[in-house]
C-alpha cells in the first residue's frame, strides 16, 4: 500500500515543502484526474478543477488529520467538492459532454486479484456494503457519485421513472448505513 507515503507527503506539504507537494501531485493526480473527467465531462474543465483542487490541497494541507482518514481520500473529497462547486456555477448539462464514460466496469465485482491487492481495506469494505444492494441501486449510487448525475439524468439514462430512481437511491443508502458504521 502507498497510503502512508501519501500521508507523509501531505504532511510535508503542510510545512511548505514544494518538492513533497510535487511528488504528491505526480503520485495522485492520475486517479484524481480520472475523477475530475467523470464529473466535469470535458477535459478542459476537468483540468481546471484538478488545478484549482490541488491549489486548495496546497493551501489546506495543514487541516489534514491522518487519524481521521487517508490522504488520498481527503484529497479526493477536496477536489470532488471543487468540481461540484464548478458544475453548480457553470450549470453544465450532461448533453455538453465531449468525453463519454458510460460504464462502471472499473467498479465491477470482477476486479482482478492484482488490482485488489492495491485497494485499501476501506474501499473493499465499501464495495462489500454496496454489493448487498440490488445491482440497479448500486449502479445509481455509483453513477451519482462518480458522474454527479442528477436524479433526472439517471432516470433518463436508465429508462426508469424519476420516482423509482429517487426511491432506489434513498432506500439503497438507508440499507447500507448500518454496514458503513
Amino acid at each position: 500500500m502507498m497510503e502512508d507515503i501519501y500521508a507523509e507527503l501531505l504532511q510535508k506539504t503542510a510545512t511548505g515543502d514544494q518538492l513533497a507537494f510535487k511528488k504528491l501531485y505526480e503520485e495522485t493526480s492520475p486517479k484524481l484526474m480520472s475523477l475530475c473527467l467523470r464529473l466535469m465531462r470535458t477535459e478542459a474543465l476537468a483540468e481546471d478543477v484538478l488545478q484549482e483542487g490541488f491549489i486548495k490541497v496546497w493551501e489546506k494541507a495543514d487541516t489534514f488529520t491522518p487519524g481521521k482518514g487517508r490522504a488520498l481520500t481527503w484529497m479526493s473529497t477536496v477536489i470532488r467538492n471543487k468540481g461540484l462547486d464548478k458544475l453548480r456555477s457553470l450549470k453544465t448539462k450532461a448533453a455538453e459532454t465531449e468525453i463519454q464514460y458510460e460504464g462502471l466496469e472499473f467498479a465491477s465485482a470482477d476486479l482482478q486479484p492484482d488490482n485488489m491487492e492495491d485497494l485499501s481495506q476501506d474501499v473493499k469494505g465499501l464495495m462489500a456494503c454496496l454489493d448487498t444492494l440490488k445491482p440497479d441501486q448500486k449502479e445509481c449510487i455509483l453513477l451519482s457519485y462518480y458522474y454527479g448525475h442528477t436524479h433526472q439524468e439517471l432516470a433518463n439514462k436508465m429508462g426508469r421513472p424519476l420516482g423509482t430512481i429517487k426511491a432506489w437511491i434513498r432506500r439503497g443508502l438507508e440499507d447500507i448505513r448500518p454496514c458503513l458504521t
Binding site: M33, L37, E47, W58, S120, L173
Partner: protein, 246 residues
C-alpha cells in the same frame, strides 16, 4: 413573520433527529442530494456542527471510491499552473497564521492571544511548573469555537463555547483529555451547548494534565455513563498548552 420563524425552528428540529440527519448526511456525501435541498442542508451544516461531522465521516467512506478509477494522466499544463500559483504566493506566509483565523475576526481571540503571549514570555517549560493550561478548540473546518482554561489556583476547568453548538435531542456534549502518548482519555464531564461550563478537577486530574496532548468534545447519548472514551463524533478538538492565567 412568526410563521417564518416557526418554519425555521421546525426545520432545525427535524435536523436534530439522528435518524433523519444521518440519512441526509449519507445522501449529501454520496452526491445524491440536489437542488434546494442541498443548499438548505449546506446552510444548516454551517451552524450545526454535528451535521458537518457526520457528513465528513460519510464523505471519507465514499471518497475511497477514487481508488477504483483507472489512471488518467493530466497534461503538463496543470502542474505548470499549480507551480506558478505556488511561486506567486511564496513571498507570503504559506499557511494562514492561527491569529488570522475567523476566531480573531469574531473578536474571541484577544484573550487567547494574551494567554499564548504570556505563556511564551513568562513560562519556561524546562524550569517552571505550569500553573495553568489552555486550549482553543476548533471544528473540523478549523473554525475556533471554544476556549478552555484549566487553573491550579481554583482547581477548575472552564470551557467557554463562543458559538452555540446545536445538539440533537437525547444527546449531550462531553469533554475529554487525551494523553500525549495515546491510551484511554480522561472523561471530564458534560459541557453546555453554549456559554461557560465550570468543572472542578481533582488533584490527580490536575497532575495528569502535564501528560495531556489534546482536548476533544464529542457528542454522546445522554446518561451513557459507562463510556470510557468518545463513542460519538468528535465535534471540537485542540492542543493543550501550558499558560499563565490570572
Amino acid at each position: 413573520m412568526s410563521n417564518v420563524n416557526n418554519r425555521a425552528n421546525n426545520s432545525t428540529k427535524r435536523y436534530q433527529n439522528p435518524e433523519l440527519f444521518e440519512q441526509l448526511a449519507i445522501e449529501y456525501a454520496a452526491g445524491s442530494m440536489q437542488g434546494r435541498a442541498k443548499k438548505r442542508f449546506e446552510t444548516l451544516m454551517e451552524t450545526h456542527f454535528y451535521l458537518r461531522a457526520v457528513v465528513d465521516a460519510y464523505e471519507n467512506k465514499f471518497a475511497t471510491l477514487v481508488e477504483l478509477l483507472p489512471d488518467a494522466k493530466p497534461s503538463n499544463q496543470v502542474w505548470a499552473g499549480i507551480e506558478s500559483h505556488i511561486k506567486a504566493s511564496a513571498p507570503q506566509e504559506k499557511k494562514t497564521s492561527w491569529w488570522k483565523t475567523s476566531f480573531f475576526k469574531q473578536g474571541f481571540g484577544l484573550a487567547a492571544m494574551a494567554i499564548v503571549v504570556s505563556a511564551v514570555l513568562l513560562l519556561n517549560p524546562m524550569t517552571v511548573t505550569p500553573t495553568s493550561y489552555a486550549a482553543i478548540l476548533e471544528s473540523d473546518s478549523n473554525v475556533a469555537m471554544a476556549m478552555t482554561k484549566i487553573k491550579k489556583s481554583d482547581m477548575t476547568l472552564t470551557v467557554d463555547i463562543m458559538k452555540k453548538v446545536n445538539v440533537p435531542d437525547n444527546m449531550e456534549l462531553t469533554l475529554w483529555c487525551h494523553p500525549k502518548d495515546g491510551g484511554i482519555p480522561m472523561k471530564m464531564g458534560t459541557i453546555s451547548e453554549s456559554g461557560k461550563t465550570n468543572i472542578k478537577i481533582s488533584k490527580k486530574e490536575w497532575q495528569n494534565m502535564k501528560d495531556v496532548g489534546f482536548l476533544a468534545i464529542s457528542i454522546e447519548h445522554i446518561n451513557d455513563n459507562k463510556i470510557v472514551k468518545p463513542s460519538g463524533k468528535i465535534l471540537l478538538h485542540g492542543q493543550l498548552t501550558t499558560a499563565s492565567l490570572n
